[in-house]
Symmetry: C2
Subunit: 225 residues, 2 copies
DNA sequence: AATTGACTGGAACGTCGTTCCATGAAAGTT
DNA sequence: AACTTTCATGGAACGACGTTCCAGTCAATT
């Protein structure tokens, strides 16, 4: 895309560096070793080069993370076909995002930064556009889209934070169990609700609950009409 | 609270260090200079001590940030009186949180970490308990509370991220204006919704929109009954 | 053949969180 | 009063990070 102006590109190394290859390697590190493992040194080691060379293709770490996020989100958004009924389409987009962030938790943290980057724009457009064709009145459109997006962002951020806490390779059930145990040990007099809901926390399905939240908000939007 | 077992506490310095004083100083730095300005060196300088001394009272930076967050959230939660009608009480809690995070944006980022810490527990208990007295059926209680909390978290995280991007002392209107300008410059064919909503973004009231989202979710919860 | 400019990679800089430890002051003990 | 112990301090040092710098390399152009 960027190299359209270049007529041809003779490689100097068999495995020449490029922003694409760097982003790809960064995603591999992020997925397998976690957010904290992505350093320019680790990246350089994996690409068999020096950390300085990476800066020729990437402005800085923030730029690299944004590019990686755009990459993942773009795949999600193109995967969701758009000819479905708008309500179902919104659910599909939301679930696609949930699954992508489940597979790449670091994306959840990145979505908050720089709302003019491609990733966030695509999400806003996809959800907002669908709300429009759903027939949400003009006056409520912006608020409705905002509510849906902020909810999705909240879940995304929480998944990212959970992944950061995990001792690595712990699965979601084990993590939820650990939190549930702590909640159970709380004083029922001081935290009656938390205490009561702790057992549900241990057994609940994150993905189903996420979708239930989407439906709740869609139901709320439905009351406006 | 911790020093209950100690009979008396003679100070060795007129301004002896304590976790309270450290947290207080940390909050001042976070509020006035931003998240990135909180370092143990800056903190030590402000407290006229060495960075090592701080570690006698605080385990590490994560512990310090969590303590600061607990401090801010506790003030919010005690400020909200509880005898109001549950629906109004939830709106009051949510608005209290919004205003607190508006004043201390770094709190928004911290709420995601360690969901067993006091800050998050108090929020869950406050919102969940109110939903219960509102009469939300048992089966939908957990999902409803989750939806509200994730929405609040999403807005909190976004405000924190915005504050991080701000060149300092820029106000919200200027920031929104900057984002709106970028959105306006997008290709209307590719991003029709974003392009159309850009002008609304510039003029909208963040706080009112946040409350509209809360009402939307509450309306959705109302459809369950 | 010489020159240019895209690209490389490793050394070096400054800053961070954290650890270590030599020092001191108060409290407790004899 | 002299001592030991405990609590607390603060500055130096360590290792890791993002980033900058620059001397070098190689294909393409002149």
């Amino acid at each position: 895309m960027v190299m359209a102006s270049r007529t041809q590109r003779t490689e100097r190394r068999a495995d020449a560096l490029s922003k694409e290859r760097i982003v790809e390697a960064a995603i591999e590190i992020l997925d397998t070793e976690g957010e904290s493992a992505l350093t320019f040194r680790a990246l350089a080691a994996r690409l068999a080069t020096g950390s300085g060379a990476i800066y020729w293709h990437v402005a800085n770490k923030s730029d690299l993370l944004a590019a990686a996020t755009d990459d993942v989100i773009a795949r999600v958004m193109t995967g969701v076909v758009g000819d479905a009924e708008p309500r179902q389409a919104i659910r599909a987009v939301a679930l696609g995002l949930f699954d992508a962030i489940d597979a790449h938790p670091w994306v959840g943290a990145q979505l908050f930064r720089e709302p003019w980057r491609s990733a966030m724009l695509q999400i806003v457009e996809s959800v907002g556009g669908r709300l429009q064709t759903l027939g949400v009145p003009e006056s409520a459109l912006f608020d409705s889209a905002s509510a849906l997006l902020n909810y999705i962002l909240g879940v995304a951020g929480r998944n990212a934070a959970n992944a950061r806490l995990l001792p690595r390779e712990t699965d979601r059930a084990a993590f939820l169990g650990a939190v549930a145990t702590r909640w159970t040990q709380l004083d029922p007099a001081e935290y009656p609700f938390v205490h009561r809901v702790a057992t549900e926390l241990r057994e609940h399905d994150d993905r189903a609950q996420f979708l239930a939240g989407i439906d709740l908000i869609l139901a709320g939007i439905g009351t406006i009409r």
